[in-house]
């Protein structure tokens, strides 16, 4: 079986990969040569090939997070050649193909770096901070059943589209990885704006933003300096507008909520 580009020549690459045994030990960069890389391979398939090699040689394969391999689950999380998810814009690592590299290239692969994302092993990091931020208020409080008919809540298409744009966040953490301050503002803002835009989410909008922002601080993410790196590296194109929306929500909530604690 051959790919869409049967004439493409296989490449040889040098990988510099972060290896770390577990959370408590220090890690270091280790160099591996990889041969016979097809340009039609995805980046993760290239790592699969390397891992197969390592296993055969009785070395421990490189641990990395991945699951759906179609750019939607948000599991893959590699910092490739100094960029979150590598050189292609709007692309997760699993959708990055080797045709974007050249024969003979050296590729640096690191885990997301953030205090809030400690390394479990090699390239696998702990992103449960994101779950906790959402547990702090990233929901609309409705129980199953007892809700109105779906069409009883008309939502202007423009609003629905905007909420959707925010809702496309795949929770991969590239925003944190790319930000020089390891700030989670883009992620938090996507979640806050989606619900704040929709009529269903308006009831809880003040407590939601206050609690989610407080949790964001507890998790140890940095502050937002508006560099825009997060949005530039976001694989699904979450816009900076969301961060500004989050700020408006925050300011209004802090100024007008009755929460004095």
């Amino acid at each position: 079986m051959a790919g869409s580009n049967p004439n493409a020549k296989p490449m040889s690459l040098t990988l510099k990969v972060w290896r770390q045994k577990n959370r408590d030990t220090a890690g270091q960069m280790v160099t591996y040569p990889v041969k016979n890389v097809s340009p039609d391979m995805s980046f993760l398939e290239m790592l699969d090939v390397l891992n197969d090699d390592l296993e055969v040689r009785n070395e421990e394969p490189i641990a990395f997070d991945h699951d759906c391999r179609e750019g939607i689950c948000g599991a893959c999380s590699l910092f490739i050649n100094g960029r979150a998810h590598g050189p292609e814009r709007g692309t997760t690592t699993c959708q990055l193909h080797m045709r974007h590299f050249k024969d003979g290239d050296t590729i640096t692969i690191e885990p997301w770096r953030a205090a809030a994302f400690p390394v479990h092993k090699d390239l696998v990091v702990d992103r449960s901070a994101f779950d906790r931020i959402q547990q702090a208020g990233g929901y609309i409080s409705v129980n199953t059943g007892g809700v109105p008919d779906a069409n009883e809540i008309p939502i202007p298409k423009t609003v629905a589209d905007k909420a959707f744009d925010a809702a496309t966040c795949i929770q991969c953490g590239a925003c944190v990885a790319a930000c020089k301050n390891a700030s989670a503002m883009l992620f938090v803002s996507a979640k806050v704006s989606q619900l704040a835009l929709l009529p269903q989410g308006k009831t809880e909008r003040k407590t939601r933003v206050e609690n989610m922002v407080a949790q964001m601080d507890i998790e140890g993410f940095g502050a937002c300096t508006n560099t825009g790196a997060c949005a530039a590296e976001c694989p699904v194109g979450i816009s900076l507008e969301n961060i500004n929306k989050l700020r408006r929500e925050f300011i209004v909530a802090k100024a007008t909520s009755e929460n004095i604690a």
Binding site: D52, E60, R69, Y139
Partner: protein, 644 residues
């Protein structure tokens, strides 16, 4: 063992309401005395865990992913069906029920499917209330689109990522319960065994995937919502981690496994490009609304195309065979998935396939772009086109897409009764993990519907009926049954680690996948199945002799995780072949070459095979025992499916 499906008496339209009234309730104050384990946090698992938490039960939810939100439901693209009839095009609960039974080629249980159609309307209401941003029209009301196997527009969608948006809704409901302390989530934790005490499911043994520690969790009931087993084929549209281990180990503890050979091969996937390929990517079926499927009319022309002597644009309109439109004028490109897939295989087997491998057909948008303009097509399918371009490096706005079928969904699964309880008391199965609603073929946009129906609206009612009869006392995790199960899991892991053979886990998985794709894939025959069974046994034997699992058990070890899953896939593959062999008719996704009409359509044998095949484990390597649940059709007339 006699299978009791516990279908309530009475007319199909009244069964569920009657049943809801007849089931025992647990007093609100007593619910907090019961613990429930939910394994899997996809649509079915997350919605069940959240709803049970809301009701007041103590819930523990487990997933092997690092966050519940990454469960593979996230990847569903096209949409979710519901009999809302918002488009005024004649839809109704009965029509959705009818379409689903017919689409499933009359191998599903009427009562379950009717209930599914009934609660479908509640699902949409629920999701909208949670803030799921479904597509809307300019008036602000919900939009719908049509999908394969139906002649009404009943599919609700959220661009090309309906699954993600629905799962995020369920995940947010789950998060809310976590905040209230009613649900505790255990991410990166994989179930490796079911624990039974006095014949009832009372807990699970899990492996903490970070520390490698084997741990036990006890409860009054266990719900498996662990998805399908499409990854038996190695290459599928499932996520890399999707596995059958939880369901399989439950099977080995006594839960029957139903219709394992019913697998769905999805017609619109991106073709395989090389041996290194790790997974296949689906292009939503919704593309068939506007794309036209074709191959060259002649083998000779297809050959020249494959060699690169001519390009697709050199093929004149008259030399193109729009074979679905030709053979099925009524449904055209919107025939059900199994029909579309099989026809793609047929034309490729004839030598008319395209792409360098010859294992692809065209899905062409040129007419749609001419008709509606590129902007309109981009608005509908932009993200899918982008994904296609990313993977193949080809622009689908200019060149037709190349597509080929790929394993996508498994209709088979743990056998459950009307209450979604397996044959093990206290063990429930929800979502793709059970066999219940799709018969021999699932219609597009029905998986999301079933997952959420089971989790939000069925199990929360039916589980109460079981728990109400249970004492409150908890089984401590140092109970001998837990100790024993833990030890068995540890022993199995150690055994895998000790083999230290020469072949990687993936090499066995790929070998197994090829055997299954060749002989238990889109078309099956007696000889092939017999051969496959031998081959699978050979692979199993080789695996346990020669697999190499690096590292140790007490740490993050992705190779060991995969080894456990592949070991189970190998055993499950054999059961699939057994099932395919014993079902000598063709139906839905199960196409037995011996049983076809003169026009090469699947030929059912309702007289002999209108049953659910539920298999009982009798030991690895032993022949499983078949139990039949006869299917009765009172509301739908069995006909040869026709989409002409």
């Amino acid at each position: 063992m006699i299978l009791d499906s516990k279908i309530p008496e009475g007319p199909v339209a009244e069964k569920w309401d009657k049943h809801k009234f007849n089931v025992k309730l647990v007093n609100p104050a007593n619910k907090r005395k019961y613990d429930i384990i939910v394994v899997g946090t996809g649509l079915a698992g997350a919605s069940a865990a959240a709803t049970l938490g809301e009701l007041g039960y103590n819930v523990k939810a487990f997933c092997f992913q690092d966050s519940p939100r990454r469960a593979h439901s996230i990847a569903a693209q096209g949409g979710i069906n519901a009999a809302k009839n918002y488009q005024n095009d004649g839809d109704s609960v009965f029509r959705l029920f009818y379409d689903t039974v017919k689409g499933g080629d009359y191998r599903s249980r009427e009562a379950n499917v009717y209930r599914l159609a009934q609660v479908s309307v509640n699902i949409i209401d629920q999701c909208v209330a949670q803030g799921v941003p479904f597509a809307r029209d300019y008036g602000g009301l919900l939009a719908n689109r049509s999908f394969g196997g139906a002649q009404v527009s009943r599919t609700f969608y959220a661009r090309g990522q309906t699954g993600q948006q629905l799962l995020l809704g369920a995940y947010s409901a789950l998060n809310r319960q976590v905040a209230y302390g009613k649900v505790k989530v255990f991410p990166r934790t994989e179930m490796l065994d079911l624990v039974m005490v006095d014949g009832k499911a009372r807990g699970i043994v899990v492996r903490n995937l970070i520390t490698g520690k084997i741990e036990s969790h006890s409860a009054h009931a266990v719900i498996l919502a662990t998805g399908g087993y499409g990854n038996v084929f190695f290459l599928s549209t499932n996520a890399m981690g999707s596995n059958a281990t939880a369901a399989w180990r439950a099977y080995k503890k006594g839960a029957l496994f139903a219709n394992p050979c019913f697998t769905q091969i999805h017609p619109t996937c991106i073709p395989v490009s090389g041996e290194y390929q790790s997974k296949l990517t689906l292009m939503s079926e919704s593309l068939r609304n506007d794309g036209r499927v074709w191959v060259p009319k002649t083998v000779e022309m297809a050959q020249r195309l494959r060699k690169g002597e001519i390009t697709v644009n050199d093929i004149a309109e008259a030399d193109r065979d729009y074979y679905l439109e030709r053979k099925y004028p009524a449904f055209g490109n919107l025939v059900p998935r199994d029909v579309a897939s099989r026809n793609a295989k047929l034309v490729c087997d004839e030598g008319r396939g395209v792409g360098s491998s010859g294992l692809a057909v065209y899905l062409d948008f040129a007419d749609a772009i001419k008709r509606e303009g590129q902007a309109a097509i981009a608005a509908k399918y932009g993200n899918l086109f982008e994904m296609y371009a990313k993977i193949t490096d080809e622009n689908p706005y200019e060149k037709p897409m190349r597509i080929y079928p790929a394993v996508h969904y498994t209709m088979g699964g743990l056998w459950v009764d009307y209450n979604l309880m397996t044959t093990v008391p206290g063990l429930y199965a929800a979502g793709e993990c059970n066999f219940s609603d799709h018969g021999a073929n699932r219609l597009g946009a029905s998986a999301l519907m079933q997952g959420l129906a089971d989790g939000y609206f069925v199990i929360p009612y039916t589980i109460g009926d079981y728990l109400a009869k249970m004492p409150y006392d908890k089984v401590p995790t140092d109970h001998p049954a837990f100790r024993e199960a833990e030890q068995a899991v540890i022993d199995k892991n150690n055994q895998l680690l000790a083999i230290q053979g020469t072949r990687t886990v993936d090499s066995f998985h790929k070998e197994l996948g090829l055997i299954m794709w060749e002989h238990c894939g889109m078309a099956r025959n007696e000889e092939g199945l017999r051969f496959a069974k031998q081959e699978i046994r050979r692979v199993r034997e080789a695996f346990w002799r020669d697999v190499k699992v690096t590292g140790v058990g007490e740490e993050l070890n992705q190779t060991l995780e995969r080894a456990n899953r592949v070991a189970d896939f190998i055993e499950l593959a054999e059961l699939m072949v057994d099932d395919a062999q014993s079902r000598k008719e063709s139906c839905g996704g199960h196409f037995r070459e011996e049983s076809q009409t003169p026009e090469n359509e699947a030929l059912r044998d309702d007289e002999n095979y209108a049953y659910v095949a539920a298999w009982e484990f009798t030991g690895v390597g032993n022949e499983p025992r078949l139990h039949r649940e006869d299917l009765e059709f009172e509301n739908v007339k069995l006909t040869q499916r026709s989409y002409k």
